[in-house]
């Protein structure tokens, strides 16, 4: 199509440019040269854009650097098979027998975000692990302060490798959770904050910004709820807390849960919006384990169980009497 060179030759030139641009020192005069080549024809541009987009897609691998474990091989670590599912690229590193390096150069905090319906596992150098649920934003401070994280919104499950010299801190709103060797779950919605401790010990602190200074030493089974400045400490049996972690395997567990709450839970994950249009139906209680990505199956189940009407539309499912 293009004068002079065949598409095959252009593809080779574009690959040469793409590797030069992304893997070598790049100067202003290099950029001028590349721009001139791109300006020559649309064939040059589309060939380069395609390869440039490819290299940019591998950025995701780069983004994993700060959470690389310091010691390899990772398969000697407990639980790697499950925990590494979403950071599979690390397995590649191990396969190549490469030592991961410590990256202290980036001064900005690392921001990890999941989309609605998304899920991600962050593995820290110290062996700690953080799993993000749907629609969650978590920041990890850079460099040596890497054990200081901020949960901006959403829900995260922490399995923290305890280090007395460097306590792991989670900042969330006007509060802070400090681990004392621990597994815990934090969920932050618009107005509420809920911290559930599964194992170990942790301290729940108010930060300086909080109007209600408080400090609670949490034991396993403790659940701290903060809502509009009020703080409540309750206890839950272990199985109840563990069932709150169903999202880690893509399920939700309801145990005598009101239909309206169940719908709100499903709606956190995107997909068709579940609307309980009848106030009486909203009070019905449901029990069971459901796939998070299959709200239709859930609607079918309540249709059968309660004889409710289910009206499925393109973007929502309405439940009526």
């Amino acid at each position: 199509m293009s004068e002079g060179f065949s598409q095959t030759e252009i593809a080779a030139q574009a690959a040469e440019w793409a590797q030069r641009r992304h893997f070598w020192q790049w100067s202003d005069s290099d950029q001028v040269e590349l721009d001139a080549w791109l300006a020559q024809s649309m064939a040059h541009r589309v060939a380069y854009w395609r390869l440039n987009a490819t290299v940019q897609r591998t950025e995701r691998l780069t983004a994993l650097k700060p959470s690389l474990p310091e010691r390899l091989p990772i398969w000697q670590r407990p639980g790697w098979l499950i925990t590494f599912r979403s950071v599979a690229a690390l397995v590649l590193l191990a396969a190549l027998g490469m030592a991961a390096r410590e990256y202290l150069s980036a001064p900005a905090p690392q921001v990890f975000a999941t989309t609605v319906g998304g899920r991600e596992v962050i593995r820290l150098k110290d062996g700690s692990q953080i799993e993000l649920n749907t629609d969650t934003v978590l920041k990890i401070a850079a460099g040596t302060a890497a054990r200081d994280v901020t949960l901006e919104k959403g829900e995260a499950y922490f399995q923290i490798h305890h280090d007395g010299a460097h306590p792991f801190r989670v900042n969330v709103g006007t509060h802070r959770v400090i681990d004392l060797g621990t597994r815990f779950l934090i969920r932050k919605d618009e107005n509420t904050l809920e911290v559930s401790l599964i194992e170990g010990r942790a301290r729940f602190d108010a930060t300086a910004q909080s109007a209600h200074p408080s400090s609670i030493d949490m034991k396993p089974g403790d659940v701290v709820m903060a809502e509009n400045g009020r703080i409540n400490l309750t206890r839950k049996p272990e199985h109840a807390i563990v069932s709150q972690l169903g999202w880690r395997t893509g399920v939700v567990v309801f145990d005598s849960t009101r239909l309206s709450d169940a719908a709100a839970e499903f709606n956190r994950y995107g997909g068709k919006k579940l609307v309980i249009a009848d106030p009486e139906a909203a009070k019905l209680k449901i029990e069971g384990t459901f796939q998070l990505n299959n709200v239709e199956a859930f609607a079918d189940a309540i249709q059968v169980a309660f004889g409710l009407r289910v009206d499925t539309r393109s973007d929502e499912i309405r439940i009526t009497h």
């Binding site: 199509m1 293009s2 065949s6 598409q7 095959t8 252009i10 593809a11 080779a12 690959a15 040469e16 793409a18 590797q19 030069r20 992304h22 893997f23 070598w24 020192q25 024809s41 649309m42 064939a43 541009r45 589309v46 060939a47 854009w49 395609r50 390869l51 987009a53 490819t54 290299v55 897609r57 591998t58 950025e59 995701r60 691998l61 780069t62 983004a63 994993l64 650097k65 979403s86 950071v87 599979a88 690229a89 397995v91 590649l92 590193l93 396969a95 190549l96 490469m98 390096r101 990256y103 921001v111 990890f112 975000a113 999941t114 989309t115 609605v116 319906g117 998304g118 899920r119 991600e120």
Partner: protein
């Protein structure tokens, strides 16, 4: 961080169909709307063109035509436009080269069902993307893979990669260039779903 479909939708609002585009908008549109169709486009071309060694060139011809047209006026349905362009290109080639009868080119309307399905890329979440990247890297020739991993994960510059691998900078360049091309073919040209089958 994670690929957000919401963000994409917002961006899409900025580039309106029917409008002329500057080069950087065109690149954005091409990467977001056209490249994700590559797997389907490759299937269409492979299915309708006898000489398989022409396919990569034909694909680039399609991209070139699509972007030349989009630069003047952005099509409102990228998918339909890409496949119409591909079909027209094949018909032109057949007329010019007298290789296969025109009937051999599948009617693009027959593809309309497949074309309406949302591209899998739209729903890609971080986990799947990593899995795809890893699978693609795994299938690179070993030296190309090593060079790319050293550059992208370890963050080494080309000259450092050369030292580490004990090869000349020219050879590093060749490994990197061939690695990038192969990654592009795997990440865009292959169907994400079909790769999962054994």
């Amino acid at each position: 961080m994670a690929e957000s479909t919401d963000i994409k939708r917002k961006d899409a609002g900025c580039i309106r169909p029917g409008a002329a585009m500057n080069t950087s908008d065109l690149e954005t549109w091409f990467v977001r709307e056209v490249l994700p169709l590559e797997a389907a486009l490759m299937q269409f071309l492979q299915h309708n063109w006898r000489n398989q060694s022409d396919i990569a060139d034909l694909r680039q011809d399609v991209y070139e035509r699509v972007c030349l047209a989009a630069q003047e006026q952005l099509p409102d349905n990228a998918k339909a436009f890409v496949f119409r362009t591909a079909r027209n290109l094949l018909v032109d080639r057949i007329r010019r080269e007298h290789v296969v009868p025109i009937e051999a080119v599948e009617d693009v309307d027959a593809l309309s069902v497949a074309m309406e399905e949302p591209g899998p890329e739209r729903a890609v979440i971080a986990r799947d993307e990593l899995r795809r990247l890893q699978s693609a890297l795994d299938r690179l020739p070993p030296r190309a893979r090593e060079a790319i991993v050293l550059g992208r994960i370890e963050g080494l510059q080309g000259n450092e990669i050369a030292l580490r691998m004990g090869i000349t900078e020219g050879v590093v360049s060749r490994h990197l260039a061939s690695g990038i091309s192969a990654l592009a073919d795997m990440l865009y040209g292959e169907d994400a779903q079909s790769r999962r089958k054994p």
